[in-house]
């Protein structure tokens, strides 16, 4: 229990609940179930990007191309639908586009050894350019209405999209916990050389992380097109930085090796909720980015201070132990651990 309470996800979740409760004292409408459902619904796109991003960051990489991948996948999705492909096939095309785009990143990072930020920054430009080249720079306005029905259909008054994404997240979480190879992401991110010496295929693990990141970006594209009903050129633009911010906010360390799916989910929910809260507080939308940035900055600084004080306390406790201090100190350290 203590472990959960001390975790970063819990800190951010508590902040999220506090924020919503605080806003509800000004505007009751925040607490209506429909409002909360809408917040979750509008966080789906970012959430999928964030979960994908998490895999890459776990391995100590970074993927700034996810927004562009989502844009490219959305365009392919739109093309496939307009070419008369059945919905499942079109979705598959979008997912495949995302996965392939992610694999290209993976190849550059693993095979050639290009630093992740350089590799994905390059593909950010390439994919976004490709997207414009493919469409000739114009929006795909005509998307069959069948796809839109996915977004408006509600089961138990919750959009079916939310259920689907929830299922994806839960399945991924279960797989992450059950499959042994899933731990390779952590091992490689924590200590690549050590993982290699243990017989883990570090290169394949990193490659898989980028492929997953692309795959999830492809899913995000499907959600986006379903929710909006057309493909604007700005699809996913700037979302890569939001996704990284959400991952970090949720407690995934950029140094690799720590973080869970829930970190990604909570981070994405929080960043989306901040935007919604601004609306309920009638703060002009122009402040959204400032608030998101300030929150991210304060959370990482607070996290650093907490970690430092924990470390100091542990060091003090250890020093006391070494001196052979008895009774009270020992008991106190036991109670803490």
């Amino acid at each position: 229990m203590m472990r959960i309470v001390k975790s970063r996800e819990f800190l951010v979740l508590a902040l999220l609940v506090t924020m919503i409760l605080a806003v509800s004292t000004v505007n009751k409408a925040v607490l209506y179930p429909i409002t909360l459902i809408n917040i979750v619904n509008s966080s789906l796109f970012l959430m999928l990007l964030t979960v994908g991003q998490m895999f890459v960051i776990l391995t100590r990489g970074i993927d700034v191309s996810v927004g562009a991948i989502a844009g490219l996948s959305a365009v392919i999705f739109g093309f496939a639908l307009n070419a008369g492909a059945p919905l499942p096939l079109a979705m598959l095309a979008a997912l495949a586009t995302g996965a392939v785009a992610g694999m290209v990143n993976g190849l550059g990072v693993v095979l050639i050894g290009v630093p992740p930020i350089i590799m994905t920054l390059s593909t950010l430009g390439i994919y976004r350019g490709l997207m414009r080249v493919l469409t000739g720079g114009s929006w795909i306005e005509q998307v069959p209405p069948s796809i839109k029905s996915l977004a408006v259909t509600r089961v138990y008054s919750v959009p079916v999209m939310v259920w689907v994404v929830l299922a994806v997240v839960i399945v991924t979480a279960v797989l992450m916990a059950r499959i042994r190879a899933a731990r390779w992401f952590y091992a490689v991110g924590d200590n690549r050389d050590g993982a290699f010496l243990l017989g883990i295929n570090a290169a394949a693990t990193e490659f898989a992380a980028y492929a997953f990141s692309g795959l999830f970006a492809g899913m995000a594209a499907v959600v986006f097109v379903a929710q909006i009903g057309f493909v604007p050129m700005q699809t996913g633009s700037g979302q890569e930085l939001k996704a990284i911010a959400a991952v970090v906010l949720g407690g995934v360390s950029l140094m690799g090796g720590t973080g869970r799916i829930w970190s990604a989910v909570v981070g994405a929910l929080f960043l989306t909720a901040v935007d919604s809260m601004m609306i309920f507080l009638k703060v002009p939308g122009s402040w959204n980015n400032a608030v998101a940035g300030a929150v991210l900055l304060s959370v990482v600084i607070a996290d650093y201070l907490i970690r430092r004080s924990l470390r100091n306390r542990q060091a003090v406790a250890r020093a006391a132990e070494m001196r052979g201090a008895d009774g009270p100190t020992m008991r106190m350290t036991e109670a803490r651990s």
Binding site: S122, L241, L254, V300
Partner: protein, 352 residues
């Protein structure tokens, strides 16, 4: 043929690339070779080079600062707001530059006070500064400041602030002879940063910290002060870039420069600065910025749509870095083989 040392440097390669690029583009479209045209088209991308120069110094220390793109917009809107609030334009420029230094200093302060990755910190401040830039006009309204014209400050949020005095916009549109002011400013900042890097203790510290922050600290180097200084300098160059862009567009906007991140980092990396820190060159960044900028101009002149340009720039970035890595690998293998052969030879001699 033995090349002199300077001819092997990356800057020399970039210089040759630049000349070759201009000649090739000139052969395809002769209008491109007009000197005046060549000089004046630098105004389109001077802001990228300016921001990249500050970033070069930061990356040399092993850090990174992606918030510069937001500082550009912030400096621009601060200048505009100070001006419409009644400050003389000179004072407004000083306030805007000071804002840039403060923004960069904040980055440096947080980077040195915590062990959090600079990418995360500057990602947070990227949002923070961009948000402040877009939100500032409404805040001034709330605080009850009075602006000229109807609609208060909020009206400036989307349409930008125009009507800046000639003495300021000359910095973006004017020229001395054939040399436009943005280019003069860029060259001056390049010279300043090169001097800082090569001729001052501060510059040497930067390389030292980038090679090993730990060793630098144990050697008694003021790591904290140096890092805060370099992030503040990056804030300053980003602010200068924002102001040059403002003068060039003759309009102060909060979203100026927000699209430039890919180009800025490409210029730094193509310029030969290692993203891992420890080595880098301001001149290289300047030349790489010119190569990239003219490439873009040339492609557009050739009738290639601007949509394809990021594809090519992205390809160039990953291509140049891959080439560097692969050639390094190749050289290492060759050195290994040579050493192995020399070893075999020595062994044979011993036996004989």
């Amino acid at each position: 043929m033995i090349l002199p040392g300077w001819a092997k440097s990356w800057e020399f390669v970039l210089g040759c690339t630049l000349i070759a690029e201009i000649v090739i583009l000139g052969l395809i479209s002769p209008a491109f070779l007009n000197i005046e045209n060549l000089l004046f088209s630098t105004s389109d991308f001077a802001h990228v080079i300016l921001a990249a120069i500050g970033l070069t110094l930061v990356i040399i220390t092993g850090g990174i600062d992606i918030s510069g793109v937001s500082v550009m917009g912030l400096a621009s809107i601060v200048l505009g707001l100070s001006f419409v609030a009644g400050a003389p334009i000179g004072l407004a420029v000083v306030i805007a530059l000071a804002t840039g230094v403060a923004a960069g200093g904040l980055n440096g302060l947080v980077v040195t006070s915590t062990d959090v990755n600079p990418l995360v910190i500057t990602l947070a401040t990227l949002f923070l500064f961009a948000g402040i830039a877009t939100g500032l006009p409404t805040l001034l309204d709330l605080l009850g400041f009075k602006a000229y014209g109807a609609g208060g400050f909020e009206a400036y949020q989307y349409e930008g602030i125009t009507g800046l005095p000639k003495s300021f916009t000359r910095l973006g549109t004017g020229a001395i002879g054939w040399v436009p002011f943005p280019l003069i400013i860029t060259v001056a900042v390049t010279a300043l940063a090169s001097w800082l890097l090569w001729a001052t203790r501060f510059g040497r510290y930067l390389t030292f910290i980038g090679t090993s922050a730990e060793v630098a600290r144990y050697s008694g180097i003021p790591v904290r002060r140096t890092l805060i200084g370099v992030y503040a300098f990056n804030g300053l160059t980003a602010a200068i870039a924002g102001l040059v862009l403002t003068a060039y567009f003759t309009s102060a906007r909060s979203d100026l420069g927000s699209e430039a991140l890919l180009n800025i980092i490409t210029a730094v990396v193509l310029g030969g600065t290692s993203i891992q820190g420890g080595s880098g060159s301001v001149l290289g960044t300047f030349l790489a910025g010119l190569v990239l900028g003219y490439l873009r101009q040339g492609l557009l002149a050739l009738g290639i749509t601007s949509d394809v340009v990021p594809v090519i720039i992205g390809g160039l970035l990953v291509g140049s870095v891959s080439l560097k890595i692969l050639s390094g690998e190749f050289n290492r293998r060759r050195a290994n083989r040579a050493a192995y052969r020399a070893g075999r030879l020595a062994e044979g001699n011993d036996r004989g």
